[in-house]
């Protein structure tokens, strides 16, 4: 029944991710962003939380907890409050593992899931986006053409998280170049596959600590057994929704970080003899942003809950993302504005949050609950 109170288990997850975010992410976020690299040992420390392997059934070596999109959204918000680059990095193996768990054939599960149950961060990721304007996941240009029981892949992918070090990818491609979600295939591609070129590290406006790459696929040929779900295929539309919910939660965490920081600053910064928070020009702006964050979180949770309840969440997740992509830009921009010149220099984190927040409107498939 209608209830907005997280369960005891969900609260534990929230607490765990929140303390990890403040102890292991906030502390290094600035340096990582400046150096354009993750902190040494970060991925393994994050992996030790067991966020991804928890969902893998015990028979494949995981913990076998029940998977829930709501729990995923709660964790994602806390982690991106810590830092978006680091959150996307530590969650990237889920982009590989969750689709296998959900749609993989028994053989694929047996072969691939144990890879995500070791002691250290597994080098697994996925490639969804393409470097073209007006990219639409239902109209990919990367094609998988069937030939003699194999699939031949051609196309370009971009913003592949931790692609530079990944051993295996799920590459999404349009079956025989056809449009529509129902024609999207997920194909497991090895790093060493002939025809696959892993580009250099991309340079983006934000998420700088995250290593993202472009992939070029030139007649990459994989067997029929590389197709996720085999003959049955997968529900790519559901995957897109689960990804949008994750991105919404990450956007909420980013916005919350910026709003909290700006509010604190406004209480400490004096002008004309009193804190600037005493002025409605500042406090109303930040109060409105607070309300938008509250609303965005509920929108995210509702879509996540629909996924868990087995209801269609496609429209809800799309609308949530459409809305929250705007909220996160406004909130992070207002945070920079609150700090004025101090917000523009890199000593304060708000400019980083604005650069990160700006990314959401072009992200698809970069994370998953």
């Amino acid at each position: 029944m209608f209830n907005l109170e997280p369960s005891e288990e969900q609260k534990m997850l929230q607490d765990m991710t929140r303390s990890f975010a403040s102890e292991q992410m906030r502390t290094v976020a600035h340096e990582c962003d400046e150096a354009c690299m993750l902190a040494s040992g970060f991925l393994d420390r994050a992996w030790a939380l067991g966020l991804v392997s928890a969902a893998v059934p015990a028979e494949y070596g995981g913990t076998g907890f029940e998977r829930s999109a709501v729990a995923g959204a709660l964790a994602a918000e806390e982690l991106s409050w810590g830092d978006l680059s680091l959150a996307l990095a530590m969650l990237s193996p889920a982009l590989f593992t969750i689709p296998v768990l959900k749609w993989g054939t028994p053989e694929q599960k047996k072969a691939l899931l144990p890879l995500a149950c070791g002691d250290s961060h597994p080098h697994l990721t996925a490639a969804v986006m393409e470097p073209f304007m007006l990219f639409d996941p239902a109209g990919m240009r990367t094609a998988a053409v069937r030939a003699n029981g194999s699939y031949v892949l051609n196309g370009r992918k971009c913003l592949v998280p931790l692609g530079g070090t990944a051993e295996k990818f799920i590459v999404y491609a349009a079956r025989d170049g056809q449009k529509g979600y129902e024609n999207v295939l997920g194909l497991v591609v090895d790093r060493a596959q002939p025809g696959l070129t892993i580009g250099g590290r991309e340079r983006n406006m934000g998420i700088s600590a995250l290593d993202t790459v472009e992939l070029e696929l030139e007649d990459v040929t994989v067997g029929g057994d590389a197709v996720l779900g085999g003959e049955e295929g997968m529900d790519f539309k559901a995957l897109v929704s689960a990804s949008r919910v994750a991105l919404c939660a990450l956007a909420v965490g980013t916005a919350r970080a910026a709003n909290e920081y700006a509010r604190q600053y406004a209480l400490e910064r004096n002008a004309f003899g009193e804190p600037i928070a005493h002025r409605q020009a500042i406090s109303f702006m930040l109060a409105e942003d607070y309300m938008e964050i509250e609303g965005s979180r509920l929108l995210t949770w509702e879509s996540a809950w629909r996924i868990d309840a087995g209801l269609d969440a496609f429209k809800e997740a799309y609308l949530a993302k459409l809305y929250i992509d705007q909220v996160v830009v406004k909130v992070t921009d207002d945070a920079v504005q609150t700090l004025g010149g101090h917000g523009y220099i890199r000593e304060h984190p708000v400019e980083r949050w604005l650069r990160n927040g700006r990314g959401f409107c072009c992200f698809e498939g970069l994370s998953i609950v």
Partner: protein, 415 residues
């Protein structure tokens, strides 16, 4: 455990009121807007029978709040009472917000009694809403010519005449929703905010129940308004208006007055938001229909940069309504759970008042000349929607409430 599953009780009430709105409200909507200050008797009589047959269900006992220790269990109290009420209010406002406000009902005055009155006061003042032969209204009188959002500046006074143990009320109230219906046209109840001691500021503020027809209470004016014209908005003058001592709500002592009175807003603000959402939903649905009749398509899922301007607006309108509804339900759900919801009630009200004004405006814009024409209800919904960003605290006042809370600032620090 986080869940958005709508309780079946809420769903049933929602369905029932949607049907009622469709059958009995939409058909009078334009007439009532065109005939300001006339009573839509068919609607009022119908609703009175409906209410007396117990069809208003849990709404009859008003909105609930956290129970004080040792307080009797309210037999009318049901689980999800505020959520049920929010659903009913939304659907009726989808039918017509003016008619919803004008129905014979305890209104905000009754809600205040239900929220802060003693069991005995509830019995005495609220029973009439289910037993009277003829329709009865309730109203709340706060605003004065010189005190709107700044309710601490209220000048109306209540003096205790110790000889007769009566309160003597003097002052002028304006913008009283259903004030004429409650004070003059029925044996209703008007909850009046007045100060026991002007020098005490907010602490002196108390609310008092004045029954319809009490000598000394006179309706002096009924306003002509932008929207919600089916509902009367009255000026009421109190001249040595005498009421019994036990008509004071809450603790009669001076020291704790204002807080108790303000607490009723925590229950009523989400309901104003729910009403706004009903209007917004109506605007959205009609604008979508016209858009689709005109061959337009809503391509949910498409890259946002490929959407048409109207298509994108319609989607954002839908998202705005969803956000508003979720925030409102959160505030109502907290009230049902007995959790303090002052912040959330103001968040819901501030966000929704603004969002729905925008949504109904966009609906008129998208429908073009059809939206502007009185052949459609879109222009009326825009006029009706606007009040929700004004009454029960303007958007700015509610934003101020939110800002003070999240910054932890007092009303002296953040003015």
């Amino acid at each position: 455990m986080i869940s958005f599953e709508i309780p079946s009780g809420v769903e049933n009430v929602s369905q029932m009121f949607r049907n009622l709105a469709m059958e009995y409200m939409r058909k009078w909507a334009r007439w009532a807007d065109d005939h300001e200050h006339e009573r839509c008797t068919e609607w009022v009589d119908f609703m009175w029978v409906f209410a007396k047959n117990g069809m208003m269900g849990p709404m009859a006992s008003g909105m609930s709040r956290k129970k004080k220790e040792g307080e009797q269990k309210d037999k009318h109290r049901v689980k999800y009472q505020n959520l049920v009420m929010a659903a009913a209010v939304e659907q009726m406002s989808w039918g017509d917000a003016g008619l919803y406000l004008s129905m014979p009902f305890m209104g905000l005055g009754g809600a205040a009694i239900a929220a802060v009155g003693t069991d005995e006061q509830k019995q005495r003042f609220l029973t009439r809403f289910s037993t009277s032969e003829t329709p009865v209204w309730g109203a709340m009188a706060i605003t004065e010519p010189g005190a709107g959002s700044d309710s601490a500046a209220i000048r109306a006074t209540a003096e205790l005449d110790e000889a007769t143990n009566e309160w003597v009320i003097n002052g002028e109230k304006i913008f009283v929703t259903q004030g004429k219906s409650a004070a003059e046209d029925s044996n209703g109840v008007v909850v009046v905010w007045a100060t026991r001691d002007r020098s005490a500021g907010r602490a002196g503020m108390k609310s008092f129940v004045v029954e319809g027809g009490t000598p000394g209470m006179t309706v002096t004016k009924v306003e002509h308004k932008l929207g919600i014209r089916a509902s009367d908005t009255a000026s009421i003058v109190f001249e040595d208006c005498r009421i019994p001592f036990d008509h004071v709500l809450g603790d009669p002592e001076v020291k704790t007055g204002f807080k108790g009175a303000m607490a009723t807003f925590d229950a009523t603000r989400p309901m104003v938001a729910a009403s706004a959402i009903g209007i917004g939903q109506a605007s959205l649905e009609r604008a979508k229909e016209l858009y689709e009749e005109n061959g337009g398509e809503l391509r949910y899922g498409a890259n946002p940069n490929t959407l048409g301007a109207a298509e994108r607006d319609l989607m954002l309108m839908e998202a705005q309504i969803k956000v508003s509804r979720l925030l409102t339900w959160k505030a109502a759900w907290m009230a049902d759970a007995g959790v303090h919801n002052n912040l959330e009630a103001s968040v819901a009200k501030a966000k929704t008042g603004k969002a729905v004004t925008w949504v109904s405006n966009k609906a008129v814009e998208i429908a073009g000349p059809l939206g502007y024409s009185k052949n459609e209800l879109l222009e009326k919904w825009l006029r009706d929607a606007k009040i929700n960003d004004i009454f029960e605290g303007t958007g700015q006042i509610n934003t101020l409430v939110v800002a003070r809370q999240i910054f932890g600032l007092s009303s002296k620090e953040l003015r």
